[in-house]
Amino acid sequence: MTTWPPLLVAVVVVPILGAVLTPVVGQWRARRAADWALGTMLLTSVVALLLVARVADGGPFSYVAGGWEVPYGIELRFDEFSAVTAIICLLGVLAIVFSRRYAEHALPEVRIPYYYALLLLNLAGMLGFSITGDLFNLFVFMEILSLSGYALVAVSGEKIAEMAAFKYLVMGAVSSIAVLFAIGMLYALTGSLNMADVASRLGGAPVAPVAVAFGMMALGFMVKAAIFPLHIWLPDAHAIAPSPVSAILSGLVVKVGIVGMLRLYQIAYTSRALDLEALNTVLMWLGALSIVMGAFFAVFQDDVKMMLAYSTISNIGYIVMGLGLASSAGVIGASVHVFNHAIIKATLFLGAGALIFRTGKRTLTDLAGVGHAMPWTVAAISVGAISIVGIPPTAGFLCKWYIALGAVEAGHPFFAFALVFGALFIFIYYIRMVNAFYFRPPRDPAILEVREAPASMLVPILVLATLCLVMGVLGRIPLSFIEPAVTRLLAPIGGG
């Protein structure tokens, strides 16, 4: 299938255009802003699907804005990892649909158009981030998505929201600066900003600056990905944000760190400027630590969203561990978990949002017995919980299976052990959650009287829960889709 090359720009420009016009459209009625944002995202989704279809068909392709040739203009490059755009669009659409009722309930009316604008900007930033092939452009898109992310955390105006957002902002900004420093260093070494070009010119560069640049970049992305012990901004921010935002932040925004890491690896492996053994070892250990510590903290949470936030740290741990293993199965598992975790975590956060919307309660203690009142929502949450633990045939299984295989394959059975027991730990607190929803006697009998979530919330939740199952059964499709990219990634180091 051939796709008109400038479509690659459209996938970023359409949501930006939609975002800047959202306040105009929503000027008179807030609902109009929701419609507009939804329309924008649907259009973007169509574009994204065309692009994914093309990459599935003919491999990576690129487009240079303004018609310049490669190192001079900004290259947008769509490879298999960029297929994350499809998930971004999907979650974007669902989050916007979900927000329809939620935003009216949770936000002051005047903020709603800006809320949607920021949501679109956040999505646009992620879309741009995942398709750009230029280091500085990467930074710019990263800032769009970070800035809108900080604001979205605070948008609800609850008392600790601003403080959570500020903490997030400070850590996010420091990490962005670190990444920019690294980009500047790579530029000074190579004179180029295009990733492929940088990779090809890094060969003879002095080792110390390259190592420090890679290190700083990795550190920056690790903060964005919230890897233990750089995770301290995450729980508050993700728990306090409005639920559709939490779904986006937890499902997608932390993955930006992972995609950035993948880009870093692409440069590093191709250039062969450096042996990455040290970085890989650090990633494996931090991944294992994240899994365990995330799960450990999650067990003690009573607040549902806080628990989900800690669970994100665990799951990012899986992904990072997979990347660090640097074996084919591990990296494939990690890349696919980027997609699957997005779907699963969105299911859970949107589900939790629906519970909060209907009951006004957010702790397990208060929500006890809600399963009888909101059967569909809680059933979807249960599906999400099963998936995130990684029980077949749900979405979480195959990725974890692959990461574990990768660990054995790379000769680190200990990490397979850590992974499986991490999953067990995760299982325990999700069982605690589902147990409370179904089997604990309600603290306040009024909870049995609440109604099921409205359609605009229930539909996205059920769609996502269904996807959790479908992605589990059809798990080999994303795996075989991502495989060529991983093979290409690992080829220079003799893996794959």
Partner: protein, 117 residues
């Protein structure tokens, strides 16, 4: 090593500035001061990147009659223009948040805020 560092003393100055900024971010409790530290870090990185574009004895890269090479590298300057805007935007949002925190909690000292929480 020291000789090489002496040659790149401009870069080293940026590193020092960067660390001053980091020190401020870590140790200051006042949210605005914290953010000023962040701005110092940003400035350090901007200065670093602009410095990579310097050519000894170069002219401003504006073409026209009577200007001669060598020119200063225009690319880092262009990047940093963007970078500055990004930094300004972050600052604006940070200040907005600080205003709200002040309204809600009556303080912008991180340690007092932690107690209030």
């Amino acid at each position: 090593m020291i000789a090489a560092l002496w040659h790149n003393i401009d870069y080293a100055a940026c590193v020092v500035l960067f660390c001053i900024g980091l020190y401020t971010v870590i140790t200051k409790h006042n949210l605005i001061k914290k953010f000023m530290g962040l701005n110092i870090m940003e400035t350090a990185v901007f200065a670093f990147i602009v410095a990579t574009g310097v050519v000894e004895g170069g002219n401003a890269p504006i073409m026209g009659p009577g200007v001669e090479p060598p020119f200063i590298n225009p690319l880092p300057q262009a990047l940093i223009l963007t970078g500055i805007v990004v930094a300004v935007s972050t600052t604006a949002l940070a200040l907005g948040l600080v205003i709200r925190i002040w309204h809600q909690c009556g303080t912008i000292e991180a340690d007092e805020l932690r107690e209030a929480e």
